[in-house]
């Protein structure tokens, strides 16, 4: 079995501050994140609580009026972000539609449509259930809509393993392309907010919504800004990308995923760090080569953020390096799987722009030993690391490297 190099060749993002491809993503750190006040009638957890609502994306470009009537926001956002990513990759007509993989991730994008479909039932009128809204309770409808719109019949799946689901989807797409099961994969994450899911955020993140402002890379305090959007990437085999003259951003060279055991934490688990090194298997690169880290820090001292800080410090100590770290969630909020996918986009984009964007809302006093990117950082990276942790102690890591000239 021969392994192919896997290139990232396109990216599209819908976030509270706008919509677009790599240029938009490169500008995120400079933009107003466009967070809005948590609506008064939705029980804001505190007076200054904010939300990140994504409302600008060109649905009319990708949907007919009839399709739009039958689509929910996850479907609409996914198609727009995929369309943007394909344009970013310079792909017009897809030449291998029967083999293009579609692997998406989401934590809970179905909640909005499930609540909408269920409403007659919840109000005691089960005979009024709207059959046309029923498909939207399936979590994979956004993935299916994209496949249908573009005629893509390759390997198709939907990971729903929490906020890291999109990193899992990217890792699976990487594996499918690497092993020759797909010449191209469309991967990423989508999340939607509605009144119901905002209320759910209030309960789900209750303990993390009390701070006055996000404090990225602080060891305590901070707050989350629940958010939504869609982040999609185009992965291609080197052969496919080169054949069509694509200009890749970076290549994915390794991934690893798992969960910290009962007796492990981010710092102490020697076995865990050994597994972390698995990400180097394909790269054959040393830790000292990592130019920067795109981290999952949420701006709040969540279990996940604290584990990640422990892990970063242990890497620094073990390998005597201190790569600068930036946080995608500081620009778009806690958009769950969207933010995780954006971490990869930001890392890949830095290989082309030569700049790592600055983290917003950085804690005045960052956690001990953490080298935070506070101002845009000029880099010539040969390698970068994407790290993801969640509240259930799951982790996913991806290694990116520059494309050989």
């Amino acid at each position: 079995m021969t392994n192919s190099d896997v290139y990232i060749t396109g990216m599209g993002l819908i976030a509270p501050s706008g919509f677009g491809g790599s240029d938009y993503i490169a500008s995120l750190a400079e933009r107003d994140p466009n967070f809005t006040h948590w609506p008064e009638d939705q029980h804001p957890p505190r007076a200054s609580a904010m939300l990140g609502v994504s409302s600008v994306y060109p649905v009319e470009k990708y949907f007919t009026d009839r399709q739009l009537r039958l689509a929910d926001r996850a479907m609409a956002m996914a198609m727009c972000a995929v369309g943007s990513a394909l344009e970013d990759a310079g792909i017009g007509e897809i030449d291998c539609a029967d083999d293009v993989a579609t692997i998406f991730g989401s934590m809970r994008s179905e909640h909005s449509s499930t609540q909408r479909f269920s409403l007659p039932f919840l109000m005691g009128k089960p005979k009024s259930l709207n059959a046309a809204q029923f498909p939207m309770i399936a979590r994979n409808v956004a993935c299916g809509q994209v496949a249908m719109n573009l005629g893509l019949r390759g390997m198709s799946s939907m990971e729903c393993s929490g906020p890291l689901a999109s990193l899992g989807a990217i890792a699976r797409g990487y594996d499918l392309v690497r092993r020759g099961r797909a010449p191209m994969a469309i991967v990423g994450g989508v999340e939607t907010l509605s009144k119901f899911s905002v209320n759910q955020s209030r309960h789900l993140y209750q303990q993390y919504l009390q701070g006055e402002r996000p404090d990225f890379f602080a060891g305590a305090g901070g707050t989350l800004v629940p958010s939504e959007g869609c982040s999609m990437l185009i992965l291609e085999s080197a052969e496919h990308a080169e054949r069509r003259g694509a200009t890749p951003y970076a290549r994915i060279v390794g991934s690893t995923a798992g969960r910290l055991g009962r007796d492990q934490d981010g710092a102490s688990a020697a076995g865990f760090l050994t597994r972390l090194l698995d990400t180097n298997i394909d790269a054959r690169q040393a830790w000292k080569d990592i130019a920067f880290i795109s981290a999952s820090n949420s701006g709040c001292a969540t279990t996940a953020s604290l584990l990640e800080l422990e892990m970063l410090r242990s890497i620094y100590d073990k390998y005597d390096v201190a790569p600068p770290v930036t946080a995608a969630r500081s620009w778009i909020g806690e958009a769950e799987s969207v933010a995780s996918s954006l971490q990869v986009q930001v890392a890949a984009n830095a290989f082309r722009t030569g700049s790592v964007p600055a983290t917003r809302s950085t804690a005045a006093q960052a956690a001990v030993g953490i080298n935070v990117v506070r101002q845009a950082l000029a880099v010539k990276p040969s390698s970068a690391l994407v790290t993801g942790f969640d509240e259930a102690r799951n982790y996913v890591f991806l290694r990116l490297a520059q494309v050989a000239k």
């Binding site: 079995m1 029980h43 029967d98 579609t102 934590m107 909640h111 499930t114 609540q115 479909f117 269920s118 409403l119 039932f121 919840l122 089960p126 005979k127 259930l129 709207n130 059959a131 029923f134 498909p135 309770i137 399936a138 979590r139 994979n140 409808v141 993935c143 299916g144 809509q145 496949a147 249908m148 893509l152 019949r153 390759g154 390997m155 198709s156 799946s157 939907m158 729903c160 393993s161 929490g162 594996d175 009144k195 119901f196 759910q200 209030r202 309960h203 789900l204 690893t256 995923a257 798992g258 969960r259 910290l260 055991g261 009962r262 492990q264 076995g271 597994r275 698995d278 509240e391 259930a392």
Partner: protein, 415 residues
Amino acid sequence: MSQSRRVVVTGIGAVSPFGIGAELFWNSLLGGLSAIRPVESFDASAYRGKVAAEVPSSVSQDASLAARYGNPQEKATLYATIAAQEALQDAGLPLVFASEARAGCAIGTLCSGAHNLEKYGRAFVYDDGALPEGGGPPDSIVVSYQLNHLTGHFNLTGPSTLISTACASSTDAIGFAFDAIRNGDCDTMLAGGGDIIGEVVHGGFNAVFSITTSKARPFDRERDGFAIGEGGAFIVMESLDSAVARNARIYGEVLGYGLSNSAYHLTSTSKTGEGEGLAIRRAMAEAQLEPSQIAYINAHGTATSANDSTETNSIHAIFGDHAENLYVSSIKPMIGHCMGAAGIFEAISTILTVHHDQVPPTINTAGNEAGMRFKLVKDKAVKAPVQYALSESFGFAGACSCVVIGKYKHDQLGN
């Protein structure tokens, strides 16, 4: 697959509509029993379809049961945990792995959390969005709850995922687990999932005329849909090296899987079966098998008018004249359509078919599907040599998934 690690099945567990236990599940299938009855867990009088295959109340209402399985606050997760534990015990593996063991987990589910979600939905409508009593913790309505409970309960630290590709979910999960082992990411994976009957989903399928008003009759011209089923099922998948090293019993070998999207319609299968057939072709290519080597197909066989004709077309297109030699059956008339967990129940049935050379029947059917040329096993189980078999799953949004199971030969000595 010559350069890849081989993947075998060493443990099986099930909580089915027949009750707890893989042996009970299998014997009930061979006996042609049906667990489909009038719905008990909610008032179905408002719907034209009023039947389902529910886990017996002696299991679902046993308050003491949850405490023995880590006290999950969600029913599908409870069924999944019970089934996973049975599978681990059956495989002779520990119930709590060492963190360094890096055992993983791949779950497929559709409706996990649906009961709690209904309670949160009602609280949102009627109680100003307060936390509902008996609705479980807030994370129990996020589908990843099932995954996080299982990985925590059994201390699974390897690659893990929860896949939700509608009714193809847990077949897809087997594929994920297959890759994880084959690629050398880990030696042991639990693959499967738990699912439940929720009134919203029953009402939804009723609204699209997919719930039968009488009996599920796959591949029968009089068919009128399925009954929803529920439960949890898991298999232990293991590298052959690991299984041989610990002298484990091997039920069969997972030889490959295939996925596709039919890219046709959000709820309907395609007319030609071409997109669905891509998953089958990919699975066989992965397994390095020719169509003529397949002896049995566990069909998706939902008894809906669209699925069964599509599936028939795809089987005929791929297998050609060999279709006449193919045994085919659907177990959905016996356990209902277990949604995201349907695939793992059917994969287990397929594995046991290969292991025992016994094909479970498709009950209730006249077997008179238009143009059907394969050997639909009706009424009673048949004994037949089955070296290689397929299990097929199709879901909403074009999701198609298929796995290939092969008989493990005792004279094989690993890689």
